[in-house]
C-alpha cells in the first residue's frame, strides 16, 4: 500500500467504470436518460479531475522514482503483476487527460444521437487513457494502450462525419498493426528480463543487435499513435471524421500515448538503438515539422488545418525526445502538455462555428473579429500559443526543444526553428481568414458570440496556456528529477566505463 493509505491510482483509473455502470443502468424516457447520462459522465469526470489534482498536490517532486505504487498478483503462471505507479513524467499526462475529458464531455452536449452509448464510450476511454499512464507493468500498459481502440472505434464510426466508416476502420487497423508489433517486442523483452515489471525492464540490458528490431517494433506502435510522419496518414481522416469530442481526445490525449511510449520505453530501454536511430528520428521529426506545416498551409478547411498543425507539433516533440538532453526532453514534455491544451482550444473554437451551423471552409468565413469579439480573442490566444509566442505555453516548450537540439546538431535545431516560422504562417492564414477578411456573406451577420457553456470550456484552457507560458516552473520542477535521471542513465548505459555514475538509478529502483 502506498503512503496515502488508499489505492489512489486504481481509484482514478476505475472510477469512470462506476460511471459506466450507472449510465448503462439508467431507466426512463429518452430525454431523461440523455440528460442524466450527460450529467453523470460530467460529474464522474470532474471527480476524477479532482482526484488527479489531489495526486499532484501530494506528489513528492524531490523523488525521481515511482510513487503511490500498488501491486497485486494478476496473471499467475506468467508472473505478471497488476502494478500501478506514477513518476514526474506520467503525473502530468494523467492530469492532462483528467483535465481534457470533462471539457470534451461538455463539448459533446450537442450530440443527440445515442447519448447513453456515447457517454459510456467516453468514460471507458477515460479509464483506458489514465490507466495507461499509471501502468507500471508492461502487460498492464499494453492492455490499456490497445483497449483505447474499442471505444474510439465506436466513437468515430457511430458519431462521425460522412466518411466515418472508412476513417474508423483505417484508424483501427493502423493502430492494431502497430500495437501487435509492440506485443512481439514486449514478449521478447519479457523473455530477456524474465519479468514485465517496468522498473526491472529499465535496468535489464538488451543486446545492441536486438535493440534495432525492438526499436522498429516500438516505432511502429508509438509512431502510429503519435502520428509521426510518415505513419500519420490515418490521422487527417480520423481527426476530420470523428465527432468534435472524439477529435479532441485523439489530438490532446491519445497522441500523447505515443510520445509517452517513446519516453517510457524506447529511450530508456533501448539506449543503443535510440542513439543510432536519433538521426532518423530527427529527420522524421523535421520532415513532419516542415512538410506537414506546408501541407497545413495548403488546407482550405479549418478543422483539417488544425489537424495538420497537430502532426507538425508532434514532430517537434519527437525531435525533443531524441536529443537525449535535459532541455530537449523537458521541452518535449512541456510541448506535450501545451499541445494538449492548445489543440483542444483550437478544435473547440472550430466546434463553436460548427455549432452555429457554419462551414469549415476558410474562404467562406471571415470578419468574425467584429461579430464575435470574445471568441476572436480566445482563438487568437490559442493560435498564438500554437505559433510559440512568448508568454504562452507553446513558447517554453519550443525554445527548450530547440536549445536541446542545438546542443546536439545545429541543422536540426535550425530546421525545427524554421518549422516555427511556418507554424506562424499557417496560423496567421487561419486567423486572417476566420477573423479579419471582410466578407459580405449576410449569413455571418447573425452569429452570436460565445455562450456561457462555450466560455466555460475555453477559459480553463486559456488559463492553462497562460500559466504554462508565464510560470512553467510549477510544472518543470516536478519532472526535473526523473528527466535528469533518465538522461544520465542513457549516457551511462552507452559508455559503461565512463565516469558518469548513474546516481539516481538507485532512486528509480525504489
Amino acid at each position: 500500500m502506498n503512503s496515502l493509505g488508499f489505492p489512489i491510482l486504481s481509484l482514478i483509473t476505475f472510477l469512470p467504470l462506476v460511471g459506466v455502470v450507472f449510465i448503462a443502468t439508467l431507466r426512463g424516457d429518452d430525454e431523461a436518460v440523455a440528460r442524466n447520462a450527460r450529467w453523470g459522465a460530467l460529474w464522474v469526470s470532474l471527480v476524477v479531475l479532482a482526484l488527479a489534482v489531489y495526486l499532484w498536490v501530494v506528489f513528492d517532486p524531490a523523488q525521481p522514482g515511482f510513487q503511490f505504487v500498488e501491486a497485486q498478483p494478476w496473471l499467475s503462471g506468467l508472473g505478471v503483476q497488476y502494478r500501478m505507479g506514477v513518476d514526474g513524467i506520467s503525473l502530468f499526462l494523467i492530469l492532462l487527460s483528467a483535465f481534457i475529458t470533462p471539457i470534451a464531455i461538455v463539448s459533446s452536449w450537442s450530440i443527440n444521437k445515442r447519448v447513453r452509448e456515447f457517454m459510456v464510450a467516453f468514460l471507458l476511454l477515460d479509464t483506458m487513457t489514465i490507466g495507461m499512464f499509471c501502468a507500471m507493468d508492461f502487460v498492464v500498459f499494453y492492455v490499456f494502450f490497445e483497449a483505447v481502440l474499442l471505444p474510439m472505434y465506436l466513437i468515430i464510426g457511430i458519431w462521425g462525419g460522412e466518411r466515418r466508416i472508412y476513417a474508423a476502420v483505417k484508424f483501427f487497423l493502423f493502430t492494431l498493426t502497430g500495437s501487435l508489433l509492440m506485443l512481439l517486442a514486449l514478449v521478447w523483452m519479457w523473455r530477456n528480463a524474465g519479468t514485465t515489471d517496468i522498473v526491472t525492464l529499465l535496468h535489464t540490458p538488451i543486446p545492441p543487435q536486438a535493440q534495432t528490431w525492438l526499436f522498429l517494433a516500438f516505432l511502429a506502435s508509438f509512431g502510429v499513435k503519435a502520428a509521426v510522419w510518415p505513419l500519420h496518414t490515418w490521422l487527417p481522416d480520423a481527426y476530420g471524421e470523428a465527432p468534435l469530442p472524439g477529435t479532441i481526445m485523439l489530438a490532446a490525449v491519445l497522441s500523447k500515448m505515443g510520445s509517452y511510449g517513446f519516453l517510457r520505453f524506447t529511450v530508456p530501454m533501448l539506449p543503443h538503438a535510440s542513439a543510432v536511430a536519433a538521426p532518423l528520428m530527427f529527420t522524421l521529426g523535421v520532415v513532419a515539422v516542415i512538410y506537414v506545416s506546408l501541407v497545413a498551409l495548403a488546407q482550405t478547411d479549418m478543422k483539417r488545418m488544425i489537424a495538420y498543425s497537430s502532426v507538425a507539433h508532434m514532430g517537434l516533440i519527437v525531435v525533443g525526445i531524441f536529443t537525449f538532453t535535459v532541455q530537449g526532453i523537458e521541452g518535449a514534455l512541456l510541448q506535450m502538455l501545451s499541445h494538449g491544451f492548445v489543440i483542444t482550444g483550437l478544435f473547440i473554437c472550430a466546434g463553436v462555428l460548427l455549432a452555429r451551423g457554419e462551414t469549415m471552409t476558410l474562404s467562406k468565413l471571415g470578419g468574425l473579429a467584429v461579430r464575435m469579439p470574445v471568441y476572436a480573442t480566445l482563438l487568437m490566444l490559442f493560435a498564438l500559443a500554437s505559433m510559440g509566442m512568448p508568454g504562452t505555453s507553446g513558447f517554453v516548450g519550443e525554445i527548450l526543444v530547440i536549445v536541446g537540439a542545438m546542443k546536439v546538431n545545429f541543422w536540426v535545431s535550425l530546421l525545427s526553428a524554421t518549422g516555427m516560422v511556418l507554424g506562424a504562417a499557417y496560423m496567421l492564414v487561419l486567423l486572417r481568414a476566420v477573423l479579419f477578411d471582410k466578407t459580405t456573406r449576410p449569413a455571418l451577420d447573425g452569429l452570436k458570440d460565445l455562450s456561457a457553456v462555450e466560455f466555460a470550456m475555453l477559459v480553463p484552457l486559456a488559463m492553462m496556456v497562460l500559466w504554462l507560458g508565464i510560470y512553467p516552473s510549477s510544472f518543470t520542477h516536478i519532472f526535473e528529477a526523473p528527466v535528469s535521471a533518465m538522461v544520465q542513465a542513457h549516457f551511462a548505459s552507452l559508455n559503461p566505463s565512463s565516469a558518469v555514475q548513474p546516481v539516481s538509478l538507485a532512486m528509480v529502483t525504489k
Binding site: 498478483p73 494478476w74 496473471l75 499467475s76 503462471g77 506468467l78 445515442r114 452509448e117 502487460v139 499494453y142 492492455v143 490499456f144 490497445e146 483497449a147 481502440l149 474499442l150 472505434y153 465506436l154 464510426g157 457511430i158 466515418r164 466508416i165 474508423a168 476502420v169 483501427f172 487497423l173 492494431l176 498493426t177 501487435l180 508489433l181 506485443l183 512481439l184 514478449v187 521478447w188 519479457w190 523473455r191
Partner: protein, 475 residues
C-alpha cells in the same frame, strides 16, 4: 492399478445415463425431446461433479488414465456440450427437428470424447474417436429433410471416415514398428531405441493427420465451412466447441506422451499446421457473407493459434494451449448463441448483412456479439487477448519467433473480418427485426459475453487449473 469404480465413475455415469435416456425416449409416450435434453444437461452436470471428485489413476491395465489434465479437458467438453444442448432446446422445436434422439446422440458423442481424452492406449483412443465421430455424423445430418443438412452429414462422414482410416493405419504402423499400443510402453520403447525408425515416424504422421482432420487444422480443413454452414446451428455450435477440445487434448496427450521423445521429428509438422491454419483462417474468412461460414474459418484460425502452444513442446506451451481452448469455447458458444438468435418472422437468417442496424434495435444483443467478436480478434482487455498472450509467450520462450510473428500478422487480417461484422451492426443502418430470442439462448449469450469481459479481473482460477493440468501431463 486403481480401483475401477470411483476412477471410472464419469464414463460409467455417461454411458449408463445415455442408455437410460434412450430407453426412456423409446418407451415413453409422446415427444420427449425437452425432457431428454434437460435430463442430458443434468447428466453432464452430474458427470462434471464426478470428474472433479473421481481419484486420479490408471484402470483396465493401462487402457484409460485419469489425471488433472483429463479432468480439465473433460470439464471443457461437458461445458461445451451442455451449452449446445441448451441452445438446441428452442431451435430444434422451431425447426421441427425436436426428437429425443438428439440429446442421446450428444451424450454418446460426449462419452466418446471423454474416452478419447483419458485414453492411454491406441486402442481406447480409436474406440473413443469412432464413438464420438459416428454420433456426430448423425447430428450433422439431423435435419434430414433439409438438403444442406444431409449434404453436410454426408460430407462430414466421408471425410471423417477417411480421417479415421488414416488414423487406424498410422496406429497399425506404430504398433508394427514399436511393438506395443500402450502409451507408457511406447514412450519407453521410443526413448530406448534412441529415436525411431522411418516406419514409426510415418505412423506418427498418419496419426497426426487423422487427428488434424478433427480439429480442422489446415490443410485438413476442407469439410469445415460446408459442415458448419449446412448442419443445424446448435450442432454447429457443438462442433465448434466440445469435439475441438477433445481432439486437441488427444493430440496433446499423444504427442507429448508416447511420441514426446520424437519432438524434433513432429515439431515442424505442428508448426506448419499452425501457420497454414492461421493463414487460411484469416484469408478464407474475408470474403464470406454467411456468418456460419465465417465462424468456420475463424475456428480454423483459432486452432492454428492453439497449436502454437503445442508446437512449443514445453509445459508452458501445453498450459497456453489449454488456456486458449477454455477461452475459445466460451467465446465460441457465446457467438453461436448470437447466431441462433438471428431469426426473423420464424425464419433463421444467416448472412452478415442481416445484422445491419442491430445496435439500435437490440443494443444488449449487439454489444454481446461485438464483445465476443472483439475478443476473438484478440483485443484487450477481453479474454481472447490473454489466450493469445499465453501462446505467443510460450512460442517466444521456446524460440519459435516465426510462429509468433505469423500469429501477429494473421491477427491483424482476422481483426479485419471481425471488425466488418461489428461495422455492419453498429455503423450500417437497417432494421433486422429479429424475433425475441428464447431464454436459454439469451442465457448462453450473456454467460459467454460476461465471462469474456470479466476474465481480465479474475484470471487466476482458470490459469492455475491449466497449469495443474499441464503439469500432470508433462511433470
Amino acid at each position: 492399478m486403481s480401483p475401477l469404480f470411483p476412477t471410472l465413475l464419469p464414463e460409467l455415469a455417461l454411458g449408463l445415463g445415455g442408455m437410460a435416456l434412450l430407453m426412456f425416449g423409446v418407451l415413453a409416450k409422446g415427444n420427449q425431446f425437452i425432457t431428454c435434453s434437460l435430463a442430458s444437461v443434468a447428466l453432464f452436470a452430474v458427470t462434471g461433479v464426478f470428474v472433479l471428485l473421481a481419484p486420479a489413476g490408471v484402470v483396465f491395465d493401462g487402457l484409460l488414465t485419469t489425471t488433472d489434465f483429463t479432468r480439465y479437458a473433460d470439464v471443457l467438453v461437458l461445458l461445451g456440450a451442455a451449452a449446445a444442448l441448451i441452445l438446441s432446446l428452442d431451435y430444434n422445436q422451431r425447426e421441427d427437428i425436436a426428437r429425443f434422439e438428439f440429446p442421446v446422440l450428444v451424450v454418446m458423442a460426449v462419452l466418446g470424447m471423454i474416452v478419447m481424452i483419458s485414453a492411454s492406449d491406441m486402442m481406447t483412443l480409436y474406440l473413443g474417436f469412432e464413438l464420438q465421430s459416428l454420433a456426430l455424423y448423425i447430428c450433422a445430418a439431423f435435419a434430414r429433410d433439409s438438403l444442406r443438412s444431409t449434404e453436410a452429414g454426408l460430407k462430414y462422414f466421408v471425410l471423417g471416415a477417411l480421417a479415421s482410416g488414416l488414423l487406424i493405419y498410422g496406429i497399425s504402423l506404430v504398433y508394427g514398428f514399436a511393438g506395443t499400443t500402450n502409451f507408457a510402453a511406447l514412450a519407453k520403447e521410443l526413448n530406448a531405441s534412441q529415436g525411431a525408425g522411418y516406419g514409426t515416424v510415418i505412423g506418427v504422421v498418419f496419426v497426426l493427420v487423422g487427428i488434424a482432420f478433427k480439429i480442422s487444422a489446415a490443410p485438413f480443413h476442407m469439410w469445415t465451412p460446408d459442415v458448419y454452414e449446412g448442419a443445424p446451428t446448435p450442432v454447429t455450435s457443438l462442433f465448434g466447441t466440445a469435439p475441438k477440445v477433445a481432439a486437441m487434448a488427444l493430440l496433446i496427450s499423444v504427442m507429448m506422451g508416447p511420441f514426446g521423445h520424437l519432438l524434433n521429428q513432429w515439431q515442424v509438422l505442428i508448426e506448419i499446421l499452425s501457420i497454414v491454419s492461421m493463414a487460411i483462417g484469416a484469408l478464407g474468412a474475408i470474403s464470406q457473407t454467411n456468418i456460419k461460414r465465417l465462424m468456420a474459418y475463424s475456428s480454423i484460425g483459432h486452432m492454428g493459434y492453439a497449436l502454437i502452444g503445442l508446437a512449443a513442446g514445453t509445459e508452458a506451451g501445453v498450459q497456453a494451449t489449454l488456456v486458449y481452448l477454455a477461452i475459445y469455447i466460451v467465446m465460441s458458444f457465446g457467438v453461436f448463441a448470437c447466431i441462433i438468435a438471428m431469426r426473423r418472422k420464424e425464419q433463421a437468417v444467416e448472412t452478415i448483412a442481416d445484422l445491419a442496424g442491430l445496435s439500435t434495435q437490440k443494443p444488449g444483443y449487439a454489444l454481446a456479439l461485438a464483445v465476443l467478436l472483439w475478443s476473438m480478434a484478440g483485443i484487450p482487455p477481453l479474454s481472447g487477448f490473454f489466450s493469445k498472450l499465453y501462446v505467443f509467450s510460450a512460442a517466444i520462450n521456446a524460440g519459435l519467433d516465426t510462429l509468433a510473428v505469423v500469429g501477429v500478422l494473421t491477427s491483424v487480417m482476422a481483426a479485419y473480418y471481425y471488425l466488418r461484422v461489428i461495422k455492419v451492426m453498429y455503423f450500417d443502418s437497417g432494421s433486422p427485426d429479429f424475433d425475441r430470442a428464447a431464454g436459454g439462448v439469451r442465457l448462453v449469450m450473456l454467460a459467454g459475453a460476461l465471462a469474456t469481459v470479466f476474465f481480465v479481473f479474475i484470471p487466476g482460477p482458470l490459469v492455475s487449473a491449466a497449469a495443474a493440468a499441464a503439469h500432470a501431463l508433462m511433470g
